[in-house]
């Protein structure tokens, strides 16, 4: 089983306790501490790191590019929704748009604005929305990105509203215009698989919760297990430890039951955590 290092712990996120969130937030407010953990992960054989356009991860990226004492594959999770909500609260919609455009830099912004104007005149809104991804990925252009994952909030909303056109546009835009592998994160794997089948989409790369407790395996653990076994695309397991609610060894024994899963995301915030997870998963 290949391990990918999750990024939640670096952003001060804990799914089981706000106290733990605050401890982590304090520790990783110095990006050097993130770099040290990721470097150790690379030493231990972790295959990649999840990244998003959170300001702290952008700082980490600058630090990584400056030092770069190890190789690592990166998986981008887009868009950074929490940040957009915060900016909307503080600066309103205009402020948010300016912030996004600034991130793209002059080249990306000037290229895209003309396309936006043409599409806007034609009332062709879907390509405008999807091409905003260019601004999200702009800071990551010169690192080794393996795939882009659409955030579960967006993926699941698109599925729930049956917005086939946006799904197809996202896949083709990432493949053709960005030149990367498009992926999805979903908390509703069965719905995801059903939509792919219905819309005749060749089952794409997907990241979804798979854990012994069945947490966020919707609509039920059994139905998702069946859907996983029937899926032909690549699946990356996430939420495997339920934020710490489920034991590591039980988790590994459970994941081993699936022949289709050979990658899983693990959160670890110290050398001991990294080592322990790797030892169990490389059994």
């Amino acid at each position: 089983m290949n391990l990918i290092l999750g990024h939640n712990q670096f952003l001060g996120i804990s799914h089981i306790s706000e106290e733990r969130s605050r401890e982590r937030d304090k520790k990783f407010s110095d990006v050097k501490n993130i770099y040290n953990v990721v470097e150790k992960a690379a030493d231990f054989g972790y295959k990649g790191l999840i990244l998003e356009t959170h300001p702290r991860m952008l700082e980490f990226l600058k630090y990584y590019k400056k030092n770069e004492t190890f190789d690592m594959d990166f998986y981008l999770q887009l868009p950074y929704i929490q940040g957009y909500i915060q900016t909307m609260n503080e600066k309103g919609l205009q402020g948010l748009i300016f912030q996004i455009l600034r991130r793209g830099g002059i080249k990306t912004t000037s290229t895209l604005i003309l396309k936006y104007l043409i599409n806007y005149t034609k009332k062709n809104y879907i390509p405008i929305g999807v091409s905003f991804l260019q601004f999200e990925i702009a800071p990551f252009r010169d690192i080794n990105i393996k795939a882009i994952f659409l955030h579960n909030v967006i993926t699941d909303l698109l599925l729930s509203l049956q917005t086939k056109e946006i799904f197809l546009e996202y896949i083709s835009y990432v493949e053709e215009n960005i030149g990367l592998k498009p992926g999805f994160i979903t908390l509703n794997f069965q719905l995801f698989k059903n939509c792919c089948d219905k819309w005749d989409i060749q089952q794409p790369l997907v990241m979804t919760p798979i854990n012994i407790g069945g947490y966020d395996m919707n609509p039920s653990k059994e139905i998702v297990e069946t859907a996983i076994n029937e899926y032909n695309g690549k699946i990356i397991a996430m939420n495997v430890l339920g934020g710490g609610a489920f034991a590591l060894k039980d988790t590994y024994s459970y994941l081993k039951l699936f022949k289709t899963i050979d990658y899983c995301v693990i959160g670890a915030s110290s050398e001991d955590h990294l080592r322990e997870s790797m030892e169990v998963f490389s059994e």
Binding site: G12, E90, I126, D156, Q162, G213, P219
Partner: protein, 349 residues
């Protein structure tokens, strides 16, 4: 109105974050179908029209109510628009779900209640559907740890660190500051867990915003001689997500709960806990749901509303129950202004 299984038609007014969320959920539950949405902003309504198939799009909600044969209307607009929309929906004989709070103030709530809806009503105080608080409620209700004596609570988030822009920071449109926005969830939870509130004493202050409070501190005297405190702020550092924290002291133990966990100290073994400290995480308590869009509690909330309509049940937070929170908040603001202890009169009874 004739209601059959799998044919409840849902119309959503306001397609912001919450509007999209409820649209997506109702579109996927057995027993309901998203039929129409109304969004005043032209560009957003055009985008929705292009993206979402098989759904009628309106810019004017009145037209939606007139033209569509809806069963349920979901209102997710800013609070200053609630009263008229809710009353119009009641006049159209619809089941009405409205996002919290019910309205701007006591007067508006009384007007809504005077319409005496014969259909199901519900307000989106979603924390009532989180497993940790549900467990706390069960322990209190069953007196597993005896009577409640007192509680400490806070609701914090890191959200506002400069003068905010938009209706949320204009008291005429929002009804108030952090107390109205976040604090309403906490006041509702106090009603849910402990019962009616008798008296409040409060103080508040603005830190970043000129016209609304960014911080509020409230002392509460609840029925059955329970005393408690509530601190709330949207300008608290290091709270990435909302945290509604309760520490409840009972005759035979303590309950500490947030959205993410419940810790129970019990002096003896009970139905819910062993002797000593027990910790349950939401991951262990949460059951699977038909669809998850941003939290299982939202799906459970919409499912509950749907089940109450189909089985003629009483919703967990109908307009009468939710109006209580508005009544209490008005008294809290009065206490802040006059520096007095205020008694609550539940004009809903």
């Amino acid at each position: 109105m004739t209601i059959g299984i799998k044919n409840l038609k849902v119309g959503v007014i306001g397609v912001g974050k919450m509007g999209l969320l409820h649209s997506g959920i109702f579109n996927n539950l057995n027993g309901s179908l998203l039929s129409a949405v109304s969004e005043k902003k032209k560009i957003i309504s055009e985008v929705i029209k292009q993206c979402v198939p098989n759904v009628q799009i309106y810019q004017n909600y009145d037209e939606m109510l007139k033209n569509e044969e809806l069963n349920i209307v979901v209102i997710t607009t800013p609070v200053f628009l609630h009263k008229k929309m809710v009353e119009d929906a009641i006049n159209h004989n619809l089941h009405v779900f409205v996002e919290k709070p019910l309205a701007l103030n006591t007067k508006e709530c009384q007007s809504i209640l005077s319409k005496k809806s014969k259909n199901k009503t519900m307000v989106g105080y979603v924390r009532r559907f989180m497993e940790t608080y549900k467990m706390a409620k069960k322990i209190i209700e069953n007196k597993e740890l005896g009577n409640v004596n007192d509680f400490i609570s806070h609701l914090y988030v890191s959200q506002v660190f400069q003068q905010g822009k938009g209706w949320l920071y204009n008291p005429e449109m929002s009804g108030g500051g952090v107390l109205m926005d976040l604090g309403s969830h906490a006041i509702d939870m106090i009603h849910y867990l402990f019962g009616d509130i008798k008296q409040v004493t409060a103080s508040g202050k603005s830190i970043y915003n000129k016209n609304v409070e960014d911080y509020a501190s409230v002392k509460l005297h609840v029925d059955k001689n329970i005393f408690g405190t509530l601190e709330t702020s949207w300008s608290m550092k290091n709270y990435r997500l909302w945290e509604l924290y309760f520490e409840i002291h009972l005759d035979e133990g303590t309950i500490i709960t947030t959205e993410k966990y419940i810790k129970i100290f019990s002096e003896r073994e009970t139905n819910s806990a062993k002797k000593g400290w027990n910790t349950f995480y939401k991951q262990q308590l949460t059951k699977n749901i038909p669809i998850n869009l941003g939290g299982s509690e939202y799906t459970l909330e919409d499912l509950h509303f749907l089940n109450c309509i189909m089985n003629n049940g009483k919703t967990l937070c109908d307009f009468h129950e939710a109006a209580k929170t508005n009544f209490v908040i008005d008294k809290i603001y009065m206490s802040m202004k006059k520096n007095t202890e205020e008694s609550i009169e539940y004009e809903v009874n």
